[in-house]
């Protein structure tokens, strides 16, 4: 096992870490105690938005900077906790005035603009369920998610609406209100939409938060499985306990910190840690409207005095390509902790952090279903580069395997591979897959949640990621379901069959590669004809799915490996592609 441990020196710490002694922190941790650190609603309930915004607005943090938003030119717009309280009250009133009720689903589809944050928190105040959608999704992922989630309200921008949603509108019978953030306000809103800002302006500024129960649904996040439709993982207001605990312990967030999570709220990290967790702590969060650009990012770290930074392996590897010299041109005296999530951060990238910023990246692990960070490397603790770290206080993790009798065996032997599992019952655990209870129940056995990730645990309790137990692809930290991509490829009239796998990529971890076989009547005699078709198919996939989900490569392959029952074997395709042993092929037909 590679063991170049990065040790920590307490002289380097500007603040006393929230987690000083790992074993003691685990021993003394309780969720009851975590709840005591929060406020609760006057009526006895629990509401994420109250803990994130209103409780700070009601005390001496009223004028503390909660959110600093940077526009494309880097100009800042500031929102104090008091401002956020008033704006989210207004949005909650907008929803209430429209008759949007507790439990109704409010979706957000937008670039990172302030209205997205107001929508998320205002919806929670109203007791509605907030669901973020990634703005670079194509129409097909949007249609399936809006449809499965029975979106009643959608907040989006005028251009995204026109490009992606308007053509789908007829297929979304539940979608009653579309609230548009518009650049031009002189013209009328497109048919069937309302003006977000006008509604906000005319709404009342005081609001009594819906007295939500800790078990009331709050957040809906879609994720992908190997087969079938996207799954809507539903989280409840009690998740805020885990947001609070993990922000304190895994990210070492203090109220005086300036925190920047670079993830987009369209993915779970960007909601749990890009909206909720820093506000629950009472810190200042930075939101940047723009996409990745190393000089811009280093400038933000410097100019905004970012002290805690949470980013992703793909971004780290892109920064590495630009070299550490560029990073070192920026003096970053405020920066004291850096963390990363998405897929395993390779040891070189962890150490590159030290070279470029004088700090290692701290990798951590969690999933859409877990709602918050479960396993982490901590500020006060040694880092083992390449390891996801150790379970958070309050979280029990293990490596398991299914025994011959179907019973789950907990593997205690250090270094043996198995499936990573978590003891069920932590507050941010998902409570169902929307309308797919059977699929939800299949994730649990003998009191353990089975994560679908293969891992091992070393003799000191550090966990190491090995791979996925299924065919789901992890690209730039996002899970992509092969079925969703294959379905889009199949829409091209020339395609007979499609199979999609992930292939290793030095920047994105994995990229999506699609294999298609062509219908017999399709002209594929010349190289040029095949190339034209290949591009057409790729273009279609990108239009339907958006670049984050669509294949980056497509190969025409008329002999896809299949089982005797006719099912395409993605695993074998992957082995072939990577030149790996093909394993047991006894159920295989087709190629020799």
């Amino acid at each position: 096992m590679p063991q170049q441990v990065i040790r920590k020196n307490s002289d380097d710490w500007e603040l006393i870490p929230n987690l000083l002694d790992y074993d003691a922190a685990r021993e003394h941790f309780s969720w009851e105690h975590e709840l005591e650190m929060l406020d609760g609603l006057p009526g006895g309930g629990l509401n994420i938005a109250h803990e994130a915004v209103d409780r700070h607005a009601a005390d001496e943090r009223h004028n503390h900077l909660a959110l600093r938003w940077l526009d494309r030119n880097g100009r800042a717009t500031d929102f104090t906790y008091g401002d956020l309280c008033a704006l989210t009250n207004r949005f909650a009133n907008v929803l209430r005035d429209l008759g949007v009720a507790k439990g109704d689903r409010v979706f957000g589809l937008s670039e990172r603009v302030p209205e997205l944050y107001i929508t998320a928190l205002g919806a929670l105040k109203n007791g509605s369920v907030f669901c973020p959608l990634f703005s670079a999704f194509g129409p097909e992922p949007l249609r399936s998610r809006l449809s499965i989630g029975e979106a009643r309200v959608l907040m989006t921008t005028e251009s995204l609406y026109q490009r992606k949603v308007a053509p789908l509108r007829d297929s979304l019978p539940h979608l009653q209100y579309v609230l548009l953030v518009r650049d031009k306000t002189d013209a009328e809103c497109p048919h069937g939409t309302l003006d977000f800002r006008a509604l906000l302006q005319s709404a009342a500024e005081s609001f009594t938060i819906e007295n939500t129960d800790p078990e009331d649904p709050a957040l809906l996040h879609f994720t992908s499985g190997t087969t079938g439709k996207p799954k809507g993982a539903l989280h409840v207001h009690e998740a805020v306990l885990a947001h609070h605990a993990s922000a304190r312990l895994a990210l070492d967030l203090h109220p005086q910190d300036v925190f920047w999570c670079t993830a987009d709220p369209g993915w779970v990290t960007g909601t749990s840690y890009g909206i909720i967790a820093p506000l629950v702590i009472g810190a200042t969060m930075i939101v940047d409207r723009e996409e990745f650009d190393p000089e811009r990012w280093y400038g933000i770290l410097r100019d905004q005095h970012v002290s805690v930074w949470y980013t992703a392996p793909t971004a780290v590897r892109m920064m590495m390509k630009h070299g550490s010299a560029l990073a070192r041109q920026f003096e970053l005296p405020a920066l004291r902790f850096m963390a990363s999530v998405g897929e395993p951060l390779n040891p070189e990238a962890v150490r590159w952090g030290e070279e470029a910023f004088g700090l290692p990246f701290h990798d951590n692990w969690w999933q859409t279903e877990t709602g918050g960070i479960m396993i982490a490397n901590y500020l006060s603790q040694p880092v083992r580069p390449g390891s996801m770290g150790r379970p958070l206080p309050g979280i029990e993790a293990a490596i398991v395997s299914a025994g011959d009798d179907g019973k789950l065996e907990v593997i205690t032997e250090a270094g043996r591979e198995g499936e990573l599992a978590l003891k069920r019952g932590w507050p941010s655990m998902f409570r169902t897959y929307l309308y797919e209870e059977a699929r939800y129940q299949k994730c649990f056995r003998d009191g353990w949640y089975l994560t679908g990730d293969l891992a091992r645990c070393d003799e000191d309790g550090y966990f190491w990621f090995v791979g996925r137990a299924d065919d789901v692809i992890k690209s730039s930290g996002h899970l992509i379901g092969p079925f969703e991509v294959e379905s889009a490829l199949m829409e091209h009239p020339a395609v007979a069959e499609a199979a999609v796998i992930g292939i290793p990529d030095p920047v994105a971890g994995e990229i999506v590669k699609g294999f298609v076989s062509l219908r017999p009547d399709v002209d594929a005699t010349s190289k040029a004809a095949v190339e034209t078709l290949r591009r057409e198919i790729l273009a279609l996939a990108r239009k339907r799915l958006g670049p984050a989900v669509a294949p980056r490569q497509i190969q025409v392959e008329n002999d896809l490996p299949r089982t005797r029952s006719g099912k395409i074997m993605r695993r074998l395709l992957k082995a072939r592609e990577l030149g790996l042993p093909e394993g047991d092929t006894s159920t295989l037909e087709g190629k020799e």
Binding site: A136, T314, L326, R535, K543, P547
Partner: protein
Amino acid sequence: MTEAELRSRALEKLLQVAPDIDPDALDPQVPIRDQYDFDSMDFLNFAIALAKEFQLNIPESDYPHLQSLQDTVDYLVRHTGEQDVSS
């Protein structure tokens, strides 16, 4: 190589990465990502494809000069000029 040739070859590389782009509708003056869903991985692949096509070393620090098709053509004019007089 003329500017028109550079433009056509650069566009071809762009379409190789993102064939969903309609070359007739693309505004060469406007950043590509403002007109299409074109993410940072696409951008990286575009830069790598250009470097290969024109046998250039395009350092990452030059990526901001490749945001629109016209930016890209201007960049190529500046960086391929000398080689191409002789070719």
